[in-house]
Amino acid sequence: MQIRVIPGSNAAIYRQIADQIRRAVVSGQLAVGDPLPSVRQLAKELVVNPNTVAKAYAELVRDGVLETQAGRGAFIAKRRDVFTKTERLRRLDAALDTVISEALTLGFDRDETLERLRLKLDRLDVAKP
Protein backbone atom coordinates (compact mmCIF):
# COMPACT_ATOMS: atom_id res chain seq x y z
CA MET A 1 0.00 0.00 0.00
CA GLN A 2 1.05 3.57 -0.60
CA ILE A 3 0.91 6.03 2.28
CA ARG A 4 0.94 9.74 1.55
CA VAL A 5 1.29 12.59 3.99
CA ILE A 6 0.33 16.20 3.50
CA PRO A 7 1.88 18.71 5.88
CA GLY A 8 -0.11 21.82 6.66
CA SER A 9 -3.45 20.04 6.90
CA ASN A 10 -5.71 19.93 9.92
CA ALA A 11 -4.76 16.35 10.72
CA ALA A 12 -1.34 15.88 12.29
CA ILE A 13 1.03 13.80 10.19
CA TYR A 14 0.99 10.86 12.65
CA ARG A 15 -2.81 10.88 12.43
CA GLN A 16 -2.72 10.80 8.63
CA ILE A 17 -0.43 7.77 8.71
CA ALA A 18 -2.52 5.94 11.32
CA ASP A 19 -5.79 6.68 9.49
CA GLN A 20 -4.48 5.42 6.16
CA ILE A 21 -3.29 2.16 7.69
CA ARG A 22 -6.62 1.73 9.45
CA ARG A 23 -8.45 2.32 6.18
CA ALA A 24 -6.22 -0.15 4.33
CA VAL A 25 -7.01 -2.80 6.93
CA VAL A 26 -10.75 -2.17 6.75
CA SER A 27 -10.81 -2.24 2.96
CA GLY A 28 -8.85 -5.49 2.91
CA GLN A 29 -5.82 -3.92 1.24
CA LEU A 30 -3.83 -5.11 4.24
CA ALA A 31 -4.62 -8.55 5.67
CA VAL A 32 -3.97 -10.10 9.07
CA GLY A 33 -0.28 -10.95 9.38
CA ASP A 34 0.89 -8.53 6.67
CA PRO A 35 4.13 -6.87 7.72
CA LEU A 36 4.54 -3.10 7.80
CA PRO A 37 7.78 -1.31 6.99
CA SER A 38 9.95 -0.51 10.00
CA VAL A 39 9.58 2.90 11.61
CA ARG A 40 12.89 4.12 10.17
CA GLN A 41 12.15 2.77 6.73
CA LEU A 42 8.72 4.37 6.52
CA ALA A 43 10.06 7.63 7.94
CA LYS A 44 12.67 7.70 5.20
CA GLU A 45 10.14 6.83 2.53
CA LEU A 46 7.68 9.53 3.60
CA VAL A 47 10.45 12.01 4.51
CA VAL A 48 9.07 12.58 7.99
CA ASN A 49 10.54 12.45 11.47
CA PRO A 50 10.82 8.84 12.74
CA ASN A 51 9.08 9.79 16.00
CA THR A 52 6.02 10.73 13.97
CA VAL A 53 5.84 7.25 12.44
CA ALA A 54 6.56 5.68 15.83
CA LYS A 55 3.66 7.62 17.32
CA ALA A 56 1.27 6.41 14.59
CA TYR A 57 2.40 2.80 15.11
CA ALA A 58 2.07 3.10 18.88
CA GLU A 59 -1.48 4.31 18.53
CA LEU A 60 -2.35 1.43 16.18
CA VAL A 61 -0.79 -1.08 18.58
CA ARG A 62 -2.80 0.42 21.43
CA ASP A 63 -5.99 0.14 19.38
CA GLY A 64 -5.22 -3.46 18.45
CA VAL A 65 -4.73 -2.82 14.72
CA LEU A 66 -1.04 -3.71 14.81
CA GLU A 67 1.06 -6.00 16.89
CA THR A 68 4.80 -5.84 17.23
CA GLN A 69 7.08 -8.83 17.54
CA ALA A 70 10.47 -8.16 19.07
CA GLY A 71 13.10 -8.01 16.37
CA ARG A 72 10.65 -8.74 13.57
CA GLY A 73 8.75 -5.50 13.33
CA ALA A 74 5.06 -4.66 13.12
CA PHE A 75 2.26 -6.75 11.63
CA ILE A 76 -1.46 -6.34 11.07
CA ALA A 77 -3.09 -7.94 14.09
CA LYS A 78 -6.07 -10.24 14.21
CA ARG A 79 -9.07 -8.08 14.92
CA ARG A 80 -10.03 -8.04 18.53
CA ASP A 81 -12.25 -5.68 20.41
CA VAL A 82 -10.16 -3.36 22.48
CA PHE A 83 -13.07 -1.01 23.06
CA THR A 84 -16.18 -1.66 25.08
CA LYS A 85 -19.47 -1.94 23.24
CA THR A 86 -20.46 1.53 24.44
CA GLU A 87 -17.23 3.05 23.21
CA ARG A 88 -17.57 1.37 19.84
CA LEU A 89 -21.11 2.68 19.52
CA ARG A 90 -19.98 6.16 20.49
CA ARG A 91 -17.31 6.15 17.80
CA LEU A 92 -19.69 4.80 15.20
CA ASP A 93 -22.28 7.46 16.03
CA ALA A 94 -19.71 10.21 15.77
CA ALA A 95 -18.67 8.99 12.33
CA LEU A 96 -22.27 8.59 11.18
CA ASP A 97 -23.21 12.08 12.33
CA THR A 98 -20.70 13.50 9.88
CA VAL A 99 -22.02 11.33 7.06
CA ILE A 100 -25.64 12.18 7.77
CA SER A 101 -25.16 15.91 7.98
CA GLU A 102 -23.14 15.86 4.77
CA ALA A 103 -25.76 13.73 2.98
CA LEU A 104 -28.60 16.03 4.06
CA THR A 105 -26.63 19.11 3.07
CA LEU A 106 -26.13 17.63 -0.35
CA GLY A 107 -29.87 17.03 -0.66
CA PHE A 108 -29.98 13.23 -0.49
CA ASP A 109 -32.98 11.70 1.21
CA ARG A 110 -33.04 8.87 3.69
CA ASP A 111 -33.43 6.03 1.18
CA GLU A 112 -30.79 7.33 -1.19
CA THR A 113 -28.33 7.66 1.69
CA LEU A 114 -29.07 4.17 3.03
CA GLU A 115 -28.80 2.66 -0.44
CA ARG A 116 -25.44 4.30 -0.97
CA LEU A 117 -24.18 3.04 2.38
CA ARG A 118 -25.34 -0.51 1.57
CA LEU A 119 -23.59 -0.36 -1.81
CA LYS A 120 -20.34 0.71 -0.15
CA LEU A 121 -20.56 -2.04 2.44
CA ASP A 122 -21.31 -4.65 -0.22
CA ARG A 123 -18.12 -3.75 -1.99
CA LEU A 124 -16.10 -4.73 1.06
CA ASP A 125 -15.77 -8.45 1.56
CA VAL A 126 -15.18 -8.00 5.26
CA ALA A 127 -18.54 -6.44 6.02
CA LYS A 128 -20.69 -9.00 4.20
CA PRO A 129 -23.08 -10.99 6.37
Binding site: P7, N10, A11, A12, I13, A43, K44, N49, K55
Partner: protein, 307 residues
Protein backbone atom coordinates in the same frame (compact mmCIF):
# COMPACT_ATOMS: atom_id res chain seq x y z
CA UNK B 1 25.90 9.74 28.06
CA UNK B 2 25.87 12.09 31.01
CA UNK B 3 24.36 15.20 29.45
CA UNK B 4 20.95 14.58 27.87
CA UNK B 5 21.12 17.90 26.02
CA UNK B 6 23.05 18.75 22.88
CA UNK B 7 22.27 22.43 23.31
CA UNK B 8 21.51 24.30 26.48
CA UNK B 9 21.01 28.04 26.79
CA UNK B 10 20.60 29.65 30.19
CA UNK B 11 19.24 33.20 30.32
CA UNK B 12 21.14 33.94 27.14
CA UNK B 13 20.86 37.65 26.39
CA UNK B 14 22.39 39.94 23.80
CA UNK B 15 22.09 43.67 23.41
CA UNK B 16 23.12 45.67 20.37
CA UNK B 17 23.44 49.16 21.79
CA UNK B 18 20.39 49.64 23.97
CA UNK B 19 18.29 47.15 22.01
CA UNK B 20 17.88 43.61 23.36
CA UNK B 21 17.93 41.28 20.35
CA UNK B 22 17.89 38.10 22.44
CA UNK B 23 16.34 38.23 25.89
CA UNK B 24 16.71 35.74 28.74
CA UNK B 25 16.63 32.77 26.46
CA UNK B 26 16.18 29.48 28.35
CA UNK B 27 16.10 26.65 25.92
CA UNK B 28 17.35 23.09 25.51
CA UNK B 29 17.73 20.71 22.59
CA UNK B 30 17.65 17.05 23.71
CA UNK B 31 20.22 14.77 22.12
CA UNK B 32 18.84 12.81 19.19
CA UNK B 33 16.09 15.28 18.39
CA UNK B 34 15.41 17.49 15.40
CA UNK B 35 14.28 20.91 16.58
CA UNK B 36 12.73 23.50 14.30
CA UNK B 37 13.56 27.08 15.30
CA UNK B 38 10.80 29.37 14.06
CA UNK B 39 10.31 33.10 14.18
CA UNK B 40 9.79 36.18 12.07
CA UNK B 41 12.77 37.89 10.49
CA UNK B 42 14.51 39.86 13.20
CA UNK B 43 13.21 37.66 16.02
CA UNK B 44 16.80 36.87 17.03
CA UNK B 45 17.30 33.39 15.54
CA UNK B 46 20.60 34.08 13.80
CA UNK B 47 21.95 36.07 16.75
CA UNK B 48 21.08 33.12 18.99
CA UNK B 49 22.83 30.68 16.67
CA UNK B 50 25.92 32.91 16.50
CA UNK B 51 26.08 32.96 20.30
CA UNK B 52 25.59 29.19 20.52
CA UNK B 53 28.45 28.74 18.07
CA UNK B 54 30.66 31.08 20.09
CA UNK B 55 30.96 33.62 17.26
CA UNK B 56 29.31 36.31 19.33
CA UNK B 57 29.59 36.88 23.06
CA UNK B 58 26.36 37.15 25.02
CA UNK B 59 25.77 40.29 27.05
CA UNK B 60 24.47 38.02 29.83
CA UNK B 61 23.79 34.35 30.36
CA UNK B 62 25.56 31.40 28.81
CA UNK B 63 25.14 28.46 26.50
CA UNK B 64 26.61 25.01 26.04
CA UNK B 65 26.99 22.83 22.96
CA UNK B 66 27.56 19.12 23.62
CA UNK B 67 28.24 20.03 27.22
CA UNK B 68 30.94 22.62 26.40
CA UNK B 69 30.68 26.32 27.05
CA UNK B 70 30.04 28.06 23.71
CA UNK B 71 32.74 30.63 24.46
CA UNK B 72 35.41 27.99 25.06
CA UNK B 73 34.88 25.57 22.18
CA UNK B 74 38.16 23.93 21.15
CA UNK B 75 38.87 22.85 17.54
CA UNK B 76 38.20 19.27 18.75
CA UNK B 77 34.78 20.33 20.04
CA UNK B 78 34.05 22.18 16.82
CA UNK B 79 34.86 19.11 14.75
CA UNK B 80 31.82 17.47 16.37
CA UNK B 81 29.53 20.34 15.35
CA UNK B 82 28.33 21.16 11.85
CA UNK B 83 27.03 24.61 11.02
CA UNK B 84 25.74 26.20 7.83
CA UNK B 85 25.12 29.91 7.54
CA UNK B 86 22.29 31.68 5.75
CA UNK B 87 22.96 31.91 2.02
CA UNK B 88 25.47 29.02 1.84
CA UNK B 89 28.64 30.90 0.93
CA UNK B 90 31.01 29.06 -1.43
CA UNK B 91 33.87 30.33 -3.60
CA UNK B 92 32.30 30.78 -7.05
CA UNK B 93 35.47 29.86 -8.97
CA UNK B 94 35.83 26.44 -7.33
CA UNK B 95 34.55 23.24 -8.84
CA UNK B 96 32.33 21.08 -6.64
CA UNK B 97 35.10 18.52 -6.20
CA UNK B 98 37.49 21.33 -5.18
CA UNK B 99 34.94 22.37 -2.57
CA UNK B 100 35.05 18.83 -1.24
CA UNK B 101 38.86 18.76 -1.16
CA UNK B 102 38.90 22.15 0.53
CA UNK B 103 36.40 21.04 3.18
CA UNK B 104 38.16 17.68 3.67
CA UNK B 105 41.42 19.47 4.51
CA UNK B 106 39.77 21.47 7.25
CA UNK B 107 37.94 18.63 8.97
CA UNK B 108 39.16 15.85 11.20
CA UNK B 109 36.67 13.26 10.00
CA UNK B 110 35.50 12.95 6.45
CA UNK B 111 33.05 10.56 4.85
CA UNK B 112 33.56 10.95 1.10
CA UNK B 113 30.72 8.54 0.29
CA UNK B 114 28.30 10.64 2.32
CA UNK B 115 29.39 13.75 0.42
CA UNK B 116 28.85 11.98 -2.92
CA UNK B 117 25.45 10.73 -1.87
CA UNK B 118 24.23 14.11 -0.63
CA UNK B 119 25.52 15.92 -3.70
CA UNK B 120 23.87 13.39 -6.01
CA UNK B 121 20.57 13.85 -4.25
CA UNK B 122 20.66 17.55 -5.16
CA UNK B 123 21.44 16.59 -8.77
CA UNK B 124 24.90 18.13 -8.77
CA UNK B 125 27.75 17.22 -11.12
CA UNK B 126 31.02 17.27 -9.12
CA UNK B 127 32.86 18.67 -12.15
CA UNK B 128 30.60 21.74 -12.23
CA UNK B 129 31.81 25.15 -11.15
CA UNK B 130 30.07 26.69 -8.17
CA UNK B 131 29.17 29.75 -10.27
CA UNK B 132 27.18 27.52 -12.63
CA UNK B 133 25.07 26.02 -9.87
CA UNK B 134 21.54 27.01 -8.91
CA UNK B 135 20.93 28.35 -5.45
CA UNK B 136 19.45 24.99 -4.44
CA UNK B 137 22.52 23.15 -5.70
CA UNK B 138 24.86 25.52 -3.86
CA UNK B 139 22.88 24.73 -0.72
CA UNK B 140 23.41 21.06 -1.55
CA UNK B 141 27.19 21.44 -1.77
CA UNK B 142 27.29 23.40 1.46
CA UNK B 143 25.16 20.86 3.32
CA UNK B 144 27.06 17.90 1.85
CA UNK B 145 30.34 19.45 3.05
CA UNK B 146 28.92 19.96 6.52
CA UNK B 147 27.48 16.45 6.79
CA UNK B 148 30.51 14.64 5.41
CA UNK B 149 32.44 15.77 8.50
CA UNK B 150 30.05 13.55 10.47
CA UNK B 151 29.07 16.04 13.15
CA UNK B 152 27.11 14.90 16.21
CA UNK B 153 25.27 18.20 16.25
CA UNK B 154 24.09 20.03 13.18
CA UNK B 155 23.00 23.68 13.26
CA UNK B 156 21.37 24.86 10.04
CA UNK B 157 20.53 28.55 9.74
CA UNK B 158 17.66 28.86 7.29
CA UNK B 159 19.09 26.28 4.87
CA UNK B 160 15.92 26.23 2.76
CA UNK B 161 15.91 29.96 2.00
CA UNK B 162 15.06 30.39 -1.67
CA UNK B 163 15.28 26.70 -2.56
CA UNK B 164 13.21 25.19 -5.36
CA UNK B 165 10.83 22.31 -4.47
CA UNK B 166 13.26 19.63 -5.66
CA UNK B 167 16.11 20.96 -3.52
CA UNK B 168 13.77 21.34 -0.56
CA UNK B 169 12.82 17.71 -0.90
CA UNK B 170 16.50 16.75 -1.15
CA UNK B 171 17.27 18.82 1.95
CA UNK B 172 14.50 17.15 3.96
CA UNK B 173 15.59 13.69 2.86
CA UNK B 174 19.18 14.47 3.73
CA UNK B 175 18.25 15.64 7.23
CA UNK B 176 16.06 12.59 7.94
CA UNK B 177 18.71 10.21 6.68
CA UNK B 178 21.46 11.99 8.60
CA UNK B 179 19.52 11.44 11.83
CA UNK B 180 18.64 7.84 11.07
CA UNK B 181 20.74 6.40 13.88
CA UNK B 182 18.82 8.50 16.41
CA UNK B 183 22.05 9.73 17.99
CA UNK B 184 22.57 12.91 16.03
CA UNK B 185 20.92 16.20 16.84
CA UNK B 186 19.73 18.96 14.52
CA UNK B 187 18.73 22.56 15.17
CA UNK B 188 17.02 23.85 12.05
CA UNK B 189 15.99 27.46 11.68
CA UNK B 190 13.39 27.86 8.95
CA UNK B 191 10.39 29.75 7.64
CA UNK B 192 8.98 26.74 5.84
CA UNK B 193 6.37 25.43 8.21
CA UNK B 194 5.46 22.42 6.08
CA UNK B 195 9.07 21.24 6.08
CA UNK B 196 9.44 21.76 9.82
CA UNK B 197 6.21 19.82 10.41
CA UNK B 198 7.69 16.97 8.39
CA UNK B 199 11.17 16.65 9.79
CA UNK B 200 11.12 18.12 13.30
CA UNK B 201 10.04 16.44 16.51
CA UNK B 202 10.22 19.61 18.56
CA UNK B 203 9.70 23.30 17.86
CA UNK B 204 10.99 26.45 19.46
CA UNK B 205 9.18 29.64 18.53
CA UNK B 206 11.05 32.92 18.98
CA UNK B 207 9.22 36.21 19.20
CA UNK B 208 11.02 39.49 19.82
CA UNK B 209 14.14 37.83 21.17
CA UNK B 210 12.32 35.46 23.50
CA UNK B 211 11.45 31.78 23.20
CA UNK B 212 7.69 31.61 23.64
CA UNK B 213 7.33 27.92 22.88
CA UNK B 214 9.68 24.98 23.37
CA UNK B 215 7.66 21.79 22.97
CA UNK B 216 7.02 18.69 20.90
CA UNK B 217 5.02 19.32 17.74
CA UNK B 218 1.84 17.80 19.12
CA UNK B 219 2.02 19.54 22.48
CA UNK B 220 2.56 22.78 20.65
CA UNK B 221 -0.43 22.24 18.40
CA UNK B 222 -2.64 21.53 21.38
CA UNK B 223 -1.67 24.88 22.91
CA UNK B 224 -3.65 26.77 20.31
CA UNK B 225 -7.42 26.53 20.08
CA UNK B 226 -9.94 28.04 17.70
CA UNK B 227 -13.69 28.49 17.75
CA UNK B 228 -16.23 29.41 15.14
CA UNK B 229 -18.97 31.56 16.66
CA UNK B 230 -22.26 32.74 15.26
CA UNK B 231 -22.32 36.36 16.33
CA UNK B 232 -23.44 39.60 14.70
CA UNK B 233 -20.29 41.53 15.69
CA UNK B 234 -16.62 41.07 16.52
CA UNK B 235 -16.53 39.39 19.96
CA UNK B 236 -13.15 40.93 20.82
CA UNK B 237 -14.56 44.47 20.64
CA UNK B 238 -16.52 44.44 23.87
CA UNK B 239 -15.29 41.34 25.63
CA UNK B 240 -12.06 40.23 27.18
CA UNK B 241 -10.96 36.83 25.88
CA UNK B 242 -7.82 35.63 27.69
CA UNK B 243 -5.02 34.63 25.31
CA UNK B 244 -6.82 36.02 22.26
CA UNK B 245 -4.65 35.95 19.15
CA UNK B 246 -7.10 37.20 16.61
CA UNK B 247 -10.71 37.19 15.58
CA UNK B 248 -11.78 37.47 11.99
CA UNK B 249 -15.09 37.35 10.16
CA UNK B 250 -15.82 34.25 8.08
CA UNK B 251 -19.17 34.53 6.34
CA UNK B 252 -21.74 35.25 9.02
CA UNK B 253 -19.51 33.85 11.76
CA UNK B 254 -16.44 34.92 13.66
CA UNK B 255 -13.37 32.74 13.97
CA UNK B 256 -11.55 33.28 17.24
CA UNK B 257 -8.05 31.92 17.81
CA UNK B 258 -6.61 31.66 21.31
CA UNK B 259 -3.17 30.69 22.59
CA UNK B 260 -2.79 28.66 25.77
CA UNK B 261 -6.53 28.38 26.45
CA UNK B 262 -7.63 27.59 30.00
CA UNK B 263 -10.89 27.26 31.88
CA UNK B 264 -11.25 31.02 31.89
CA UNK B 265 -10.96 31.16 28.11
CA UNK B 266 -13.69 28.59 27.70
CA UNK B 267 -15.86 30.47 30.18
CA UNK B 268 -15.35 33.75 28.35
CA UNK B 269 -16.27 32.12 25.04
CA UNK B 270 -19.47 30.83 26.61
CA UNK B 271 -20.27 34.26 28.03
CA UNK B 272 -20.28 35.75 24.53
CA UNK B 273 -23.72 34.23 24.02
CA UNK B 274 -23.17 33.11 20.45
CA UNK B 275 -26.09 31.43 18.69
CA UNK B 276 -23.78 28.52 17.95
CA UNK B 277 -20.28 27.63 19.09
CA UNK B 278 -18.10 25.21 17.21
CA UNK B 279 -14.60 24.13 18.12
CA UNK B 280 -12.25 24.15 15.10
CA UNK B 281 -9.30 21.91 14.30
CA UNK B 282 -5.97 23.70 14.47
CA UNK B 283 -3.21 22.85 12.01
CA UNK B 284 0.46 23.19 12.82
CA UNK B 285 0.60 26.22 10.56
CA UNK B 286 -2.38 27.82 12.35
CA UNK B 287 -0.60 27.29 15.64
CA UNK B 288 2.65 28.86 14.48
CA UNK B 289 0.90 31.80 12.84
CA UNK B 290 -1.11 32.32 16.00
CA UNK B 291 2.06 32.77 18.04
CA UNK B 292 3.86 34.83 15.45
CA UNK B 293 0.97 37.21 14.88
CA UNK B 294 0.42 37.56 18.59
CA UNK B 295 3.84 39.16 18.74
CA UNK B 296 2.37 42.04 16.78
CA UNK B 297 -0.69 42.33 18.97
CA UNK B 298 0.94 44.34 21.71
CA UNK B 299 2.60 46.77 19.36
CA UNK B 300 -0.04 47.87 17.01
CA UNK B 301 -3.16 47.09 15.21
CA UNK B 302 -4.80 44.10 16.83
CA UNK B 303 -6.12 45.40 20.12
CA UNK B 304 -9.37 47.27 20.19
CA UNK B 305 -10.76 47.82 16.75
CA UNK B 306 -9.47 44.59 15.29
CA UNK B 307 -10.45 44.31 11.65
Amino acid sequence: MADPYAIRAVRLTRYFGSRAVVRDLDFVVPRGSIVGLLGLNGAGKTTTIRMLMGFLDPTRGRSELLGRNSRELTPEDRSRIGHTVEGHFLYPWMRVRDCERFARETHRHWDGALFEQAVRRFGIDTAAKVSWLSRGQRAGVSIASTLAAEPELLILDDPALGLDPVSRRALNETIIEFCESGERTVLLSSHLLDDVERVADRVAVMVDGRVLVDATLDDFRSRVAAWSLELPHDPSLHHMIPGLVHSRPVGSRWHVTVADPDAETTASIERLGAASVERLEVSFEDAVLAYLSRSRVGHSFYRGEAS
